[in-house]
Structures are given as structure tokens and as C-alpha cells.
């Protein structure tokens, strides 16, 4: 039988904790300086208060006035909650410089104060932040250990679900300073703040929940002013995806045909190609196609400004301005902020949740890839795609390949297995002339055209033409021409026409 859990109501955390913290137990929250332990702990209590459970905060380091002030930024009105007897501090933060120890002692004073506060509020949640401070304040570490064990068993008797924080010296070293984990808790959570490729990455890992299940491994999280801690639970959300057989138009009838009748309603489409091959055009067409059917569309642009995007669209006979005024389009154009993938994710999710579009386009994903670590980016994409699919809407992402001819993008390599459809755009050199080619590389759950077709761009948008029959090696960029003479070429083109007609 699994232990009962107490929901923390910290966004995303209960997913990875399979329901919350082990109820009526003590959990150790360990992390290096600056790993957001205090915010996490306050968030746990604040959510409790907001859900009708009073909480007691025992602080050994930060004085209550600092905590009250710092947490205002998250909208947590601690002062007000204290007045309403929903939150209480047990303040042990003042360093007692004049304190000398003579002979044996216990923490009876602290215990009496905690019991008093808990009974007064009928508190269900408790935080002790951080126990490491006790070890620097009292030289007799044996006594500190014994007394901590006594405190913890008292917490259980009081029916509390407690979070006890502790310092760590390094991100991948021992669990906690002074070996606290050995006697404090059956349950251990680690917060990390790792510098990876010059970028900060925060993660939370549940190391153990004795007698209870939880998700394993590190999960990214971020700290936002609106919600506090936001954990991004990858594994938990992937399971919920459904899949629909409903087709939607790509905005281009020929491309719909190539895809076997259009994209799927709740699918993710990746459009990959070198710069200038027409990725933004495909995205624009996709949005225009949605608006033409009265569907609301949302565009996140990370490479071009709003003005530029609108001008481009006009050049392809798509009127973004009109779509906007009809309430069918919302454009979010911003420059991606370095090291803030999680923030972008939250932002994108919030925009989607608020605007409730039927189609979402991101141009380009590669711009976001540059600001995070490889692993962070992959997690970002997984989380975003599952979110989009969960809304039962279609998402189209563009990715830029670094080489003009052939090759794959790093973005593509990372996320190709996550996406349902992949469309490749390539430059094709044909007898000294640069043409554009388009192919549907992957179309999950559907038959599709396997040809590499020529496509052109004019003031009406994109036009998909005939397959390139007389040249191969387009995808690799190593062109091999099947026929050399002009005559052969013409015959080849003629043959293509026949084939198309048969289609």
C-alpha cells in the first residue's frame, strides 16, 4: 500500500511527486545556496494557506520581516495571513551572540514554541529553513542531531507534513551538509541550479520517498513572479496525448494533397530548411489557411519583428492586419532571452491558454535552441508539443538548417522523433540555377507523397510544382544529374508531366 500524499499545489510538482509530499511525514529539501529552497518552502506553505491549511514557518536564517517582504513579489500576503492566524513564524533567526553553552542542553524551548504555534493555528504544514544553521550555532553536533530527531518525531505526532531545508556544498556531491539526510528524513528532494554551457538551469529531483512512488530524474523548473515555483513535468504529461483523425488544411491545396489530405488536427509539424527557402512562408500559409476557415491562429516570432512579418505576409498575398482585426490572429514577436527557455515555455503556454487558438506557429524554434542547453531544449520541445497536443490544436514549428545545401539542423535532430510530420525545404541547383524543393519526409499515421517537388514563391504565395526527376541527392546537397543533355532534360520534364497527369 502506498502512503497517502498531501498535494503541495506547487505548479507541476505534484505530477512528478505522484500526488504530493508524503502526508504526515518529514521531507528534506536540500540544495546549494541560491537553489530557491526558501521560495520552494514558502510556496509550499502559501499554497497550503490558499487551500485552507494553516502553516508554520520556522526560520533559522532569514528574519521574518525579510521573508514577508521578499515573498510579496509572488503575491503572498504573509502579513495578512499572520493576522488571520493562517500563517505563523517561529523566529529563530536572531543570532544570539551572547550565548554560551555550559553543560548539556536540549531544544526544548524551540519545540515548545513550535507546538504552541501549531496548536494555535491548527496547522497542517510546517517548514524549517534551514537546519544547517543549527550546526554552525551549536558546537555540540551530537546534541543537534539528537534534538533534530526529537523535533521530527514531534512533527509526526502533531500530524504535520513538514519540509525541512538543508544546505549542500556542491550540485552533484553529498545529499546535504552534516549528513542531515541520514537522520532527518525518509524523503529527500534536491534542488539544483547548474551552470551548463554558460547557461543557468534549475532542476528538481525527488531522490526518495520511502514507501511511496514518485517520478525519477531531474525536472526543470523556474521561478515566476505570478506562480512562484513552476516545475515542468515531462514524463507525466506525455501519457495524456490523444490522437485525432481529423484533417486540417495546410493553407495550400497541393501541400494538403502531398500530406494525404492535410495535417492532422492535433499534430505537430516541423518545417526545416536553410535560410531563405520559405519556412516563414509555409508558416504564414498555415496561419492564413486557418483564418480562412475561421480558426484563431497564434504566431510566436523569434526572428523577425512584427512589421517585417506583416510586410512579408502582404508580399505573399496574406493580410495579417485584417486577420488580426477579425480576431483570428495574434502575433507575439519578441527576441528570445538568453538562458530563459523555461520562461519562454511558460509564456507560450500562458498565451495559448488565454487566446485559445486552433493553430499555433513558432518561427523559429532554432532561435530558441540557441538560448538553452541541448537537454533543456529537448525538454522544452517535449513539454511544448505535449501541451499543444493536449489542447487538441495543431502546431507548426520552423527550424533552420545551418548549411545552404543539404544537411539537417541540430533542432531537427533533437526533435524529429517528437513531431508528427516533417516537411523539408531545400535549395536545388539545376543547371546553374537555384530552385527550391519541398518534400514531406514524415507524416505519422498517413500515406503521403514521397517526391521532392519544386516549389516557387510569388506575390500570390507558394506554388508547388512537379517533382525533380532528373536530379538526385537533393537532401544531402550532393546533386547527381541523371541526364546531361538539354534534350534529355526536356524529355525528363515531359515524362514528369505525364506522371503528374496520372496522379
Amino acid at each position: 500500500m502506498s502512503l497517502e500524499k498531501l498535494p503541495t499545489y506547487i505548479t507541476g510538482f505534484d505530477h512528478i511527486a505522484n500526488g504530493g509530499l508524503p502526508k504526515n511525514r518529514v521531507t528534506l529539501l536540500s540544495g546549494t545556496a541560491g537553489s530557491a529552497k526558501t521560495v520552494f518552502a514558502c510556496n509550499f506553505l502559501a499554497q497550503g494557506v490558499l487551500h485552507g491549511e494553516a502553516g508554520v514557518f520556522v526560520t533559522f536564517e532569514e528574519p521574518p520581516e525579510d521573508i514577508r517582504r521578499n515573498m510579496l513579489g509572488f503575491g503572498w500576503q504573509i502579513t495578512q495571513w499572520e493576522a488571520e492566524n493562517r500563517w505563523a513564524f517561529v523566529d529563530v533567526s536572531h543570532p544570539l551572540d551572547d550565548q554560551i553553552a555550559v553543560g548539556s542542553y536540549d531544544f526544548g524551548g524551540l519545540l515548545a514554541r513550535i507546538e504552541y504555534a501549531v496548536r494555535r493555528l491548527n496547522a497542517k504544514r510546517l517548514v524549517m529553513d534551514s537546519v544547517s544553521a543549527l550546526f554552525s550555532r551549536f558546537t555540540d553536533h551530537g546534541t543537534v542531531r539528537t534534538e533534530l530527531v526529537r523535533l521530527i518525531s514531534a512533527f509526526k505526532q502533531l500530524g504535520l507534513t513538514a519540509l525541512v531545508t538543508s544546505e549542500r556544498d556542491s550540485e552533484y556531491g553529498t545529499v546535504a551538509r552534516h549528513g542531515v539526510e541520514e537522520f532527518v528524513a525518509d524523503n529527500v528532494i534536491i534542488l539544483r541550479n547548474v551552470l551548463e554551457d554558460e547557461k543557468r538551469r534549475r532542476t528538481v529531483e525527488i531522490l526518495k520517498f520511502r514507501g511511496a512512488t514518485h517520478q525519477k530524474g531531474e525536472f526543470p523548473f523556474t521561478v515566476t513572479p505570478q506562480e512562484g515555483i513552476v516545475v515542468i513535468p515531462l514524463s507525466a504529461i506525455e501519457l495524456k496525448q490523444q490522437s485525432s483523425n481529423m484533417r486540417i488544411s495546410s493553407g495550400n491545396p497541393e501541400l494538403d494533397r502531398m500530406c494525404g489530405g492535410g495535417f492532422f488536427r492535433d499534430s505537430i509539424i516541423l518545417v526545416s530548411g536553410a535560410t531563405g527557402t520559405g519556412k516563414t512562408l509555409v508558416a504564414t500559409t498555415f496561419l492564413a489557411g486557418g483564418a480562412a476557415h475561421g480558426e484563431r491562429c497564434l504566431l510566436f516570432a523569434f526572428e523577425e519583428s512584427r512589421e517585417q512579418l506583416f510586410r512579408n505576409a502582404i508580399g505573399w498575398n496574406v493580410d495579417f492586419e485584417r486577420m488580426e482585426s477579425e480576431g483570428l490572429l495574434r502575433v507575439v514577436a519578441e527576441y528570445p532571452k538568453i538562458g530563459a527557455l523555461e520562461e519562454h515555455l511558460i509564456r507560450i503556454k500562458a498565451e495559448i491558454a488565454q487566446y485559445r487558438p486552433m493553430r499555433v506557429a513558432i518561427d523559429s524554434l532554432s532561435a530558441l535552441e540557441r538560448i538553452g542547453t541541448q537537454r533543456g531544449f529537448r525538454e522544452f520541445v517535449i513539454s511544448l508539443t505535449s501541451f499543444i497536443k493536449h489542447q487538441e490544436i495543431a502546431g507548426l514549428f520552423t527550424a533552420t538548417t545551418p548549411n545552404l545545401l543539404g544537411g539537417t539542423s541540430i533542432t531537427e535532430a533533437h526533435i524529429s522523433t517528437i513531431t508528427d510530420s516533417i516537411i523539408l525545404l531545400r535549395y536545388v541547383e539545376l543547371y546553374g540555377e537555384m530552385r527550391r524543393g519541398l518534400t514531406v519526409l514524415k507524416m505519422r499515421g498517413s500515406i503521403h507523397d514521397k517526391d521532392i517537388r519544386e516549389f516557387s514563391i510569388d506575390d500570390k504565395g507558394m506554388h508547388i510544382g512537379k517533382p525533380f526527376r532528373n536530379v538526385s541527392g537533393i537532401l544531402s546537397g550532393q546533386f547527381v544529374y541523371r541526364s546531361k543533355s538539354e534534350l534529355d532534360r526536356l524529355e525528363g520534364l515531359f515524362a514528369d508531366d505525364v506522371e503528374i497527369a496520372e496522379d
Binding site: H94, L96, V102, G103, G109, Y116, A117
Partner: protein
């Protein structure tokens, strides 16, 4: 006049030891010029909260100023004398009281 407050938790051997040790030392060195109040934090937790008591036993020398704070069962007489600065005084014998014990 020495005003001393002794905070203890319940009637444990440690509490009894601290009370006994403190009275012994005061009797010997302050010859009646002192007042000791014993406070059981289990019984008066709100006082413990106000005085920010963490460990028990804790002795706070309220007077003479400056305030001094000492934790432990006071088993080392030498150190208690120096920490609380207990000096023989010629002033006449003062009142004694025990509260909350």
C-alpha cells in the same frame, strides 16, 4: 541585585540539575542578593516565544545589564561564574521566588 530567569522544559533530570546548580552558585557567591525565576517553557510557550528561547535550560541575566544568555545544565561552576559574572556583593539578602516550577 541580580535578576536571573531560568527557562527549563518540564521536570527532567536536566532541568532539576540546572535549577540546583544555579541556586547553589547564587547562594555561594551572591549571598542573597539575587532573584531567580524558573519558567517551564512547556507550560508558558508564549513567554518562550517572546524571549526567543531555543535551547533549554537557558539562563538569562536580566540585571545587571548588559543582558547575558547561557545555555546548558550549568554543570561547570567556573564557566557559569565567569559567564554570568557572579561577584560577591555586600548588599543585604534579597527576596527569592520560584515561579512556574
Amino acid at each position: 541585585m541580580y535578576i536571573l530567569k531560568l527557562y527549563v522544559t518540564g521536570h527532567t533530570p536536566r532541568s532539576e540539575r540546572a535549577i540546583y546548580n544555579l541556586y547553589q552558585l547564587c547562594d555561594k557567591y551572591l549571598t542573597g542578593n539575587y532573584q531567580i525565576t524558573v519558567i517551564d517553557v512547556a507550560e508558558y510557550p508564549e513567554i518562550a516565544e517572546r524571549e526567543k528561547i531555543l535551547a533549554t535550560p537557558t539562563v538569562i541575566r536580566e540585571l545587571p545589564l548588559p543582558r547575558r544568555r547561557l545555555v546548558g545544565d550549568l554543570s561547570d561552576a567556573e564557566r557559569v561564574i565567569s559567564a554570568l559574572d557572579l561577584k560577591v556583593s555586600p548588599v543585604s539578602r534579597g527576596a527569592e521566588s520560584v515561579e512556574g516550577d
